[in-house]
């Protein structure tokens, strides 16, 4: 970071991705009418709120040198659980949310124990958990979506409803500059992003987690509770993913079995793109938030320019590959051993 030694490559590594994002905004601003309006900005933020929250959870596991493939499944399980809790069990909003967060925390704990105590490799453990949850969430309703008035396997009819308070989480908009502008979910994203950033960058726990990700053995010999922090990272990831699922349920207003298919890939992409932001070459909360935003801007711009929906995954993949090149090839440091 010495100012004297900044050459073109250093500049490219450090600011390349932000420059690309500014360029993208300028391009869409010119090409797509209405792209630079507050409503468009809010729409982008809303579209990235849930993936952003999941991505921040993945970031915590990446920091300790792990990976969590189960986040998408945790989010959809949480979506189904909250719907089931309110529609079938007729719980109130607060209990339903608490139940979902507890479920996410528990899944994270189990993931962590599988990885740390049972020595299952992280990718495999969380992949297994992903399949388990994808199956489990469909069993109570025999594979059907949950909504008020559905008939249950035992022949009765579900009479509970999504409470107003719960739906507000996903649908309420706050007055900001314009009336009814900022959705509550965007506020949650910003708060969680700040919270994760503060935790990782400013607290000693975050510091130790980064040390564990870089050299777990050295961190352990320096007195860090390596296993404890690894488990904690998966618990953070599971809890944030379940909160993402709650927001999704509140936005949809029903327990839809088919939604959330893209959550895993989008949020992993956001976290990995975050490696490239400001040349960090490591998982970081700010980069993850920017990464999520970047994907959102790209997709919104393309949509407004009438690019067909089926090109979106291709473009996301391209962006991810470019970001990884920024991180690993250009910085020449090799970054971390794995993403």
């Amino acid at each position: 970071m010495q100012s004297g030694s900044l050459n073109a490559i250093d500049l490219a590594i450090k600011y390349g991705f932000l420059a690309l994002m500014v360029g993208l905004i300028a391009y869409f601003g010119v090409m797509a009418e209405g792209f630079l309006s507050p409503h468009s900005a809010v729409f982008i933020l809303q579209s990235v709120a849930i993936t952003g929250i999941l991505a921040l959870g993945v970031t915590a596991t990446l920091v300790v040198g792990g990976f969590d493939l189960s986040i998408g499944a945790v989010a959809t399980s949480s979506l189904m659980l909250s719907a089931y809790a309110m529609v079938v069990w007729q719980l109130d909003a607060a209990s339903a949310v608490a139940l979902c967060l507890a479920m996410g925390l528990l899944v994270g704990l189990v993931n962590g124990i599988l990885i740390v105590k049972m020595k299952v490799p992280d990718l495999l453990a969380t992949l297994g958990m992903m399949f388990l949850l994808v199956g489990l969430q469909r069993i109570p309703t025999e594979g059907r979506s949950i909504s008020t008035g559905m008939s249950l396997p035992d022949g009765t009819t579900a009479s509970g409803v999504f409470s107003e308070g719960f739906l507000m989480l996903g649908r309420h908009r706050l007055d900001f500059i314009l009336p009814n502008l900022v959705p509550l979910s965007v506020v949650f994203l910003v708060l969680i992003a700040i919270g994760v950033w503060v935790f990782l960058e400013l607290t000693r726990h975050g510091r130790l987690m980064y040390a564990i990700g870089s050299n777990a053995k050295a961190a352990g010999l320096a007195g860090a509770n390596v296993n404890g922090y690894k488990i904690a990272a998966y618990m953070i990831s599971g809890t944030l993913a379940s909160f993402g699922g709650v927001l999704l349920a509140a936005r949809l207003g029903r327990g839809d079995v088919a939604s959330g298919n893209n959550l895993l890939l989008d949020s992993v992409a956001a976290a990995l793109i975050g490696f490239a932001v400001l040349g960090a070459s490591k998982p970081n909360a700010f980069g993850t938030a920017i990464g999520a935003l970047f994907v959102g801007i790209l997709l919104q711009g393309l949509t407004m320019m009438n690019a067909p929906y089926y090109t979106q995954d291709f473009i996301k993949g391209g962006v991810l590959v470019i970001a990884l090149v920024f991180t690993f090839a250009l910085s020449g440091r090799g970054g971390r051993a794995r993403g």
Binding site: R204, K217, G223
Partner: protein
């Protein structure tokens, strides 16, 4: 086979500023077992890596059967007949494949054809296995074999290449006595077939059983060659450890109260129990060959290992830490050996590396106070004389010596009751070694200090008292004053002889 299977002349190799080989001349003849001895960092493994094509020498030449030999890749060395069996047995085999595939792996990697003929492969594999006396079902997966059988598989695989030179790096380190003796029989038969064998080991029992010749290495040079009908084992160890005493004046201070008391500690089953006491204001060096049990003793004190029996007391209270954290909280700090693996956090800068164990003291309500960290780092950088541009330099930008200063500084930044330093001079240049040693002595007054070193010089440079460790027990104690170096040497070597003879 020519008589001089392989000849090395003037081999030099440096990694950055670290000169590892300083002109190695060595002839290895067919039909002879040459044992290579050398302490950590003497250059053995670099020498082996040059021979097997992993590294290229900076200067000097290797001649193989009269032809110049400069392998650029390991497979080129292999084709030329230089075969290496590595210390880590699992480096030599693919556990998930069956024995036959493992034996024919090199052919698979470089050979022609696309499809595999299972029956032909197994027949060929059985031939190869029989050549080394390995009688197992070749269709079994390697993962199901014992370590000794895996090693035979990797040797058998090597033998399929008609080697001129077979290099074995500490091959018996994980074998039982019976398995080792099977390996020795195999080596005998290879020797009879005219293969030159370079055998790297510190185990006296292996050396006595096999050696036709012992070559000692020290500081990147051959420091002694011993051959003839009566091999001079003590001479070889002496040449490996060296005994030039560096001009460091140790004034032994008055020791304070006992800090660490060890009573009848048994480090592993069958080891002799030992006792020792370390006082405040005292620097004790524990020296001994690689594998003598020094790190195991450090592990017991630091909560990463457990003793079989015995008692450890710290300031009179029982000391049995369950984890490094518990040891640190009790005031026992360990700067571990093998810096890149056990100590350096490569992604961090100097400051973050330095404050890692004591973040709690630099934090208020879990938040790290940058100013407090910076003040400590600045103080330690100037006290230790770390050469750097700023406390936020990446740790990887520093030289080995400066990195090690940071790692030692990490544990000197806070007051300890007992400071353990395992090989603190590993991979460190002479100036940094002096600086670190000086600092350790200068700050020793308030604590007990134990330094674990394989090199006797280093022990004599730093310690008030030198303890000799062998076979996981303390076998000698010497006050570092008009010290009788040859007496220490005798203990380092001879203590390992009786039990070796007993095998």
């Amino acid at each position: 086979m020519s008589d001089q299977a392989i000849r090395l002349a003037g081999l030099c190799k440096a990694f950055g500023r670290n000169q590892v080989l300083r002109g190695v001349d060595l002839d290895l003849s067919g039909g002879q077992v040459t044992v290579l001895m050398g302490a950590n960092g003497a250059g053995k493994s670099t020498l082996v890596k040059i021979l097997c094509g992993v590294h290229a020498a900076d200067s000097g030449s290797v001649t193989l059967a009269g032809q110049p030999f400069k392998p650029e890749t390991p497979s080129e060395a292999l084709r030329a007949g230089i075969v290496t069996v590595h210390q880590n047995i699992n480096d030599g085999v693919v556990p998930d494949l069956d024995v036959a595939s493992n034996l024919l792996l090199d052919g698979l990697a470089s050979g022609g054809g696309v499809f595999l003929n299972g029956r032909k492969m197994r027949a060929r594999a059985r031939e190869i296995a029989a050549a080394v006396g390995l009688t197992i079902d070749v269709s079994r997966p390697v993962a199901g074999l014992s370590l000794a059988d895996r090693q035979l598989v990797s040797i058998a695989r090597a033998m399929a290449h008609q080697p001129r030179l077979l290099i074995l790096d500490e091959p018996t380190s994980s074998l039982s006595a019976a398995e080792a003796s099977r390996l020795f029989d195999l080596i005998d038969s290879l020797r009879a077939r005219g293969v030159a064998i370079l055998y790297i080991s510190h185990r006296m029992s292996d050396i006595r059983r096999l050696a036709d010749r012992i070559v000692s290495m020290r500081d990147g040079r051959i420091s002694g060659v011993f051959e003839g009908p009566e091999l001079d084992y003590s001479g070889a160890v002496r040449a490996m450890l060296g005994h030039e005493i560096t001009e460091v004046d140790i004034t032994i201070p008055q020791p304070g109260l006992p800090v660490l008391e060890v009573r009848d500690l048994v480090l592993r089953p069958g080891a002799r129990p030992f006792s020792l006491t370390c006082h405040a204001n005292e620097v004790v060096a524990i020296t001994g060959l690689v594998g003598a049990g020094k790190s195991e003793f450090a592990a017991v004190l630091f909560g990463t290992g457990e003793a079989v029996s015995g008692e450890v007391r710290l300031d009179g209270k029982p000391h049995r830490p369950a984890s490094p954290r518990a040891a640190i909280d009790a005031g026992v700090f360990l700067s571990p050996k093998d810096r890149p693996v056990n100590a350096v956090v490569a992604d961090f800068d100097i400051l973050r590396n330095l404050t890692l164990p004591f973040l709690r003291r630099h934090s208020t309500a879990q938040f790290v106070r940058g100013a407090s960290e910076l003040a400590t780092t600045r103080r330690m950088i100037s006290e230790m004389g770390v050469v750097c541009q700023s406390p936020t330099d990446g740790i990887g930008t520093l030289s080995g010596g400066n990195q090690q200063k940071v790692m030692v500084a990490r544990w000197m930044a806070e007051a300890s009751r007992l400071l353990l330093l395992d090989e603190p001079f590993q991979g460190v240049d002479i100036q940094a070694r002096r600086d670190i040693g000086h600092k350790i002595r200068e700050t020793a007054a308030t604590r007990a200090t134990i330094v674990f070193v394989a090199e006797l010089d280093e022990a004599l440079e730093i310690a008030d008292r030198v303890l000799v460790m062998s076979e996981h027990s303390i076998v000698g104690e010497h006050r570092n004053e008009n010290i009788d170096v040859s007496a220490i040497m005798a203990q380092v070597v001879d203590a390992s002889l009786p039990s070796a003879a007993g095998q």
